[in-house]
Symmetry: C2
Subunit: 458 residues, 2 copies
């Protein structure tokens, strides 16, 4: 099927596509708040109707929470599963919005026009780039170049409680050759990006116990073992002087970034100084010898997220407290095994403790492996080529410092590799007041998907 | 004046003395709670009347807070100022008391009889040991062997806001040769003790700032500087592996305990193992090479009293917080200068900080020097001899881990050396439910003061 008329159609139909996006943005589908249950349902209904409007066999599918939307449309090429989510984050603090979060408007900015409103970027705007690309194909050619399954959830912003059970129960229906996900950012403005690796996560929490009860530092100050001091020593023991994590076995399963990928990252337009300066840093503080991007995309971390113990009120209290608390998370890369890491981490902490101190662990916190995309599959280079053409610059396989569990679920439950292509900008303010999506992201996003479908069908 | 008849009179009059103690214990003189203002006033009135009943010229003296009681009685010997306080701690949690805290009762225990009630030990019972000794002298001999000024305050348990102004305004009236204070414990049951050194205190608090705002550990985990990690490193830097404080200049002004005092402490009946085990320790955790008592009485400390930062709720939050907080106190001994120590401490913390971290100090917290009693004065050996006779075992010059500012005030404002003799037991539960005072402490306390007055008058 010819690509050029599809791209022209997308250009001509941009105002109509923006009108449709505004329609779905007006639906207040805040998934975490039960008060918006009917709104979530309405968003699912809207999507079902929209998919049906260009020939997709689509259905709203009930779950114990908000419904899924599943749609199928045939085509000659490979079978692709496209995932997105129609639910959005809450809008508070409402007073920080400059306009009604659910009355989307096109606004001119120094980045060009943007569409502003809750969900404009995360994820309704991104989701619709793919839907619109499919619609354009159907309009121009009467059919699609690939077989597509649409799979939209309404609980992504509230922990996806129904996702895994639904995928397990409907594994046959959701089977495909490759999953596509549009919920990520570009590494820099104008730089098309395929997220090729997401870090995993290990969560843990411990309490160091010292004396049986809180003690008075007049009576016991000196001979008394202070768990706050012990916690400080434990925290200090986690890293060596070069920023490397000093837990034995921590780096098991970590690979260095291949030169080819490293070259892409070095040329991806990421402005290291601006990124660091924006939060008050003059240099990166992770492992020596790695750039900021590598530290954040391809190196594991051990991060203290919370500490507390003893007196925290005004003034002073001469207490040696009985307990000190610490929450931490590790970011995982490569083949790091969360539970093996947990054992190593805990053994490390136990080994730091002096006589008369003991540690109690919270056993309710989970872990997930890093997701490393299977970029050896030919679809990845095809898609990269398609994106490079659309954006007139080489697309990059980018890393991501965060964790998106959905990619792992596709692999584990459905045996599906996932390809993450997104057009969001770092400054889209997702989860924050005044969320926006650049009209360029929307427009070129639609065109990008048209090109990707074309490339994958060949 | 003959001592023996005074001691006999004290023995005979014990029931009457206990009745008087019960009377004053029934007065709910909780100084920190404005609801008990009239009760504090009533306690002062009771003391004025009681002092007058045996010929002391006593007056209630107003202050902006609760009144002082000042009384004078003449005698041939040296002029002694006796200090005590008539106010008590609140009684909550009331449900943990086995009897009404303000309905004192004599109770038989395996330590012999005790009088139970709020203030029985701290400080009404202790205060009355001295008053009763004076009364007995007056009954037997018609006069006292020394000139005495009584000085009782009603705000000791609520920060003594009126004490320093009152002492300054009435310095001439409060002048004497030596101050006596009865508000301390014996180092072990049956071991008479003169507190010869109290530790001072330096309070400080700081906040370590890292990034300008809280960061997401997916985005910045790796290159991001985490103030919680920096705080851990700062805390770990405070002590070396032997438990010694590693702050430069920290030990300036610290002297080793003289052998003669050390010998007294080694034989004072202090049960180190029981003291440590009672709170869950198997060994002392302070500076290596010093016993538990020396660590707690005669060595300075740097103690972390509170830490907080980042996420402290349920579950996990992937945050790199902007701030980490730490409260600490140092216990001072010898000639350590609080403000010099503060400068050294702060310089130490600043020196630990990596690039992009900064520290902000709370400048509202004070410090006080250690109080080292002038035991070279002959009165101290006289009193030690008197106590040794009464208790049939050598009295000791004991240290105290805590800080009692009043001794320093007597020195600074009135130029008075203070001698602290007390008969409380470690298990008296002062400030706690079911406070008690051993009847033996009360009885032998009265006899002890009679002997001390006798010894000092010679």
């Amino acid at each position: 099927m010819a690509l050029e008329p599809v791209l022209s159609h997308i250009d001509d139909a941009l105002p109509a596509a923006l009108d449709r996006l505004k329609e779905v943005l007006r639906i207040q589908s805040i998934s975490t708040d039960p008060a918006y249950k009917a709104n979530c349902d309405a968003a699912a209904d809207w999507l079902v109707a929209d998919l049906k409007s260009f020939g997709v066999e689509a259905e709203k599918r009930p779950t114990p929470g908000h419904p899924m939307v599943v749609g199928h449309i045939d085509g000659p090429g490979p079978h692709l599963l496209f995932y997105g989510h129609y639910d959005v984050q809450p809008v508070d603090p409402l007073e920080l919005w400059n306009s009604d979060p659910f009355d989307p408007q096109i606004e001119d900015t120094n980045q060009g026009p943007v569409i502003r409103g809750r969900g404009a970027s995360d994820d309704k705007g991104q989701l619709m780039t793919f839907v619109e690309a499919c619609r354009a194909y159907k309009s121009v050619h009467g059919s699609l170049p690939c077989k597509i399954t649409f799979f939209f959830e309404g609980e992504e912003e509230s922990g996806s409680p129904s996702l895994i059970p639904f995928m397990k129960e409907n594994a046959a229906e959701l089977s495909a050759d490759l999953a596509l996900i549009c919920d990520t950012s570009m590494v820099a403005p104008g730089v098309p990006s395929i997220a090729s690796q997401l870090r995993g996560m290990l969560k843990d929490e411990f309490t160091i116990h010292g004396p049986r009860i809180d003690l008075h530092s007049g009576h016991y100050g000196g001979p008394g073992l202070n768990p706050l001091k012990v916690l400080g020593q434990v925290i200090a023991s986690f890293h060596d002087d070069t920023g490397r994590v000093a837990v034995e076995g921590f780096y098991d399963g970590v690979q260095e970034v291949p030169d080819e990928i490293l070259r892409q990252w070095e040329n991806c337009g990421f402005d290291e100084a601006a990124y660091l300066n924006s939060v008050g840093y003059t240099r990166p503080h992770g492992e020596e010898g790695y750039s900021t991007l590598v530290q954040q995309w391809a190196r594991p971390t051990l991060e203290i997220n919370g500490i507390w113990g003893g007196y925290q009120g005004a003034g002073s209290k001469t207490v040696i407290p009985a307990e000190a608390h610490c929450k931490l998370t590790c970011r995982l890369v490569g083949d790091m095994e969360p539970e093996a890491l947990r054992r190593n981490l805990r053994a490390h902490v136990e080994a730091q403790l002096p006589v008369d101190a003991r540690v109690v662990w919270n056993n309710d916190l989970d872990g997930s492996k890093a997701a490393v995309m299977n970029i050896a599959r030919p679809e990845f280079e095809k898609a990269r080529g398609a994106l490079s053409e659309e954006w007139n610059r080489e697309a990059v396989f980018s890393g991501m410092g965060g964790s998106i569990p959905i990619a792992g679920f596709f692999k584990d439950i459905l045996g599906l590799d996932a390809m993450l292509i997104g057009f969001a900008q770092e400054d889209d303010a997702i989860h924050s007041p005044n969320e926006k999506y650049n009209v360029e992201s929307f427009h070129k996003g639609m065109r990008s998907w048209a090109r990707v479908l074309d490339a994958l069908s060949k």
